[in-house]
């Protein structure tokens, strides 16, 4: 939840992917066939726009493998939304890039460290080389692009290299996102989520990187200092009543998964807090129902997570979304018992 002008609907149209990355939160891969019909998503985008969402962010699976992606991007633009596409970058040939030009505001490419680390994480010996081979075409397309670096327990030392690589390639954004132990990552990368010590190092590295590239490349860090959370809770969650307010003011990011489930905050978020499925109702219907019945529960969860996260601690850098996920999971477990 956050300022309305940043309200994001994150859309995962397919779980199909040419890679089978170790850290994939949606367990995507070549064998996966889950995908939503374009007409369903088009309708959902219209509804999301009406509900106050200003950014449509497409991820996956590999979103460029979804044939109707350009149609959805065009539709989101026609609704007045900003659009982003997150890709592993290995399939961005000129034809695919051409279909994204004019309808994509930001193209975010995955970069997990030096080539050897990137390939290990991507479970592919050629992932880095192939992605890098497409970068001249990405630059030539004129689509603003950035790189997303997944921070683990083991790679804060590679952030400096990754930031410099991103800058040298002409990226306008370098984003550091912590590994979440969801999906395949929960099976294959147990214990690789950065702990408080690694988060603290990353925080300092980010500060240094921001100074180094100030005015040249934006550096976004998806972890937060507990003091910021304590002083500005309104940036992280909404505390007002839901009546008469748009969904986009209440929850962001809102996530549409490839099986049609609509959940708050992140892929795989505890189903007890889900809005429901787009295969059964439209997003407007789900939003109306959830405002009346589901939102209070989510607010309670946010308050609980906030009390925990805002405690004073020795190493104060934390993952707010992870914290919410932990509390949601614990809450579901206690209900089940």
């Amino acid at each position: 939840m956050g300022p309305a002008q940043h309200s994001i609907v994150q859309i995962h149209p397919t779980r199909r992917c040419n890679l089978r990355c170790l850290h994939c939160y949606s367990s995507s891969g070549p064998e996966q066939r889950d995908q939503l019909e374009a007409s369903v998503l088009e309708h959902a985008i219209t509804d999301a726009s009406a509900e106050g969402y200003h950014v449509a962010s497409f991820s996956g699976g590999e979103p460029v493998l979804y044939n109707e992606l350009p149609r959805l991007l065009r539709h989101a633009k026609s609704c007045g939304m900003r659009t982003t596409v997150t890709s592993n970058g290995t399939l961005l040939d000129e034809k695919r890039l051409a279909s994204l030009i004019g309808v994509t505001d930001v193209l975010a490419l995955s970069l997990d460290g030096v080539p050897e680390s990137h390939n290990r994480m991507r479970a592919s010996q050629r992932a880095f080389e192939t992605m890098a081979g497409h970068l001249p075409s990405v630059r030539a397309s004129g689509i603003p692009f950035g790189f997303i670096f997944t921070l683990t327990q083991y790679n804060v030392n590679e952030m400096e290299w990754a930031a410099e690589y991103a800058f040298q390639q002409g990226a306008s954004l370098f984003q550091i996102h912590p590994l979440e132990e969801v999906g395949r990552a929960a099976e294959q990368l147990t214990g690789a989520r950065p702990d408080e010590v690694e988060a603290a190092y990353a925080y300092l590295e980010v500060e240094r990187t921001r100074q180094q590239y100030a005015g040249k490349m934006a550096v976004q860090f998806d972890l937060v200092h507990a003091a910021v959370l304590r002083d500005h809770p309104e940036r992280f969650f909404d505390r007002e009543a839901a009546t008469g307010r748009a969904l986009g003011d209440l929850v962001s990011p809102l996530v549409i998964e490839a099986d049609g489930q609509v959940v708050p905050f992140g892929y795989g978020f505890a189903r007890g807090y889900a809005l429901g499925s787009l295969k059964q109702r439209t997003l407007l219907e789900l939003a109306t129902q959830w405002r009346a019945n589901g939102y209070r529960e989510l607010q309670r969860l946010c308050h609980k997570a906030f009390e925990d996260a805002s405690q004073r601690r020795e190493l104060p850098i934390l993952n707010w979304w992870d914290k919410l996920g932990e509390h949601a999971h614990a809450s579901e477990l206690s209900t089940a018992c």
Binding site: L22, R120, M121, L151, T152, Q153, Y154, N155, V156, N157, E158, Q188, L189, T190, G191, A192, P194, V197, E198, A200, Y201, Y203, L204, E205, E207, R208, A227, E314, L315, P316
Partner: protein, 110 residues
């Protein structure tokens, strides 16, 4: 990946820092001893020695105000890697500055 015997990213970062010697920034040194970025102190000197990635030590000297002393000592005393901690109080007749010398072991068992 997690099952492999792998060093923390921060340990590898410190190994790189050791190679950079005196070119390290204050922020990197703060990171090396896990101090919050907002800590108020004067860094007098620092030194990294040992054989990364097996283990190495970070030796740092801070100058802090007496009223901050307890917070600093508590911070370092709680760290599992603490190997030495000396406190020198300066100022006559009333202490006005304290020097804290810290040796922290990083990496494997020492």
């Amino acid at each position: 990946m997690a099952n492999e015997a792998q060093a923390r990213g921060s340990e590898k970062l410190l190994a790189q820092l050791a190679k950079k010697g005196g070119a390290a920034t204050l922020e990197e040194v703060k990171a090396a001893v896990s101090l919050p970025a907002s800590s108020d102190f004067k860094l007098l000197r620092w030194l990294i020695r040992g054989i990364p990635p097996v283990y190495f030590e970070v030796e740092t000297s801070f100058q802090v105000k007496p009223q901050q002393l307890a917070e600093f000592v508590n911070h370092f005393a709680a760290q599992p890697g603490i190997r030495d901690l000396d406190i020198l109080i300066n100022g006559i007749p009333k202490p006005d500055i304290a020097q804290v010398n810290v040796v922290l072991a990083q990496g494997g068992e020492v």
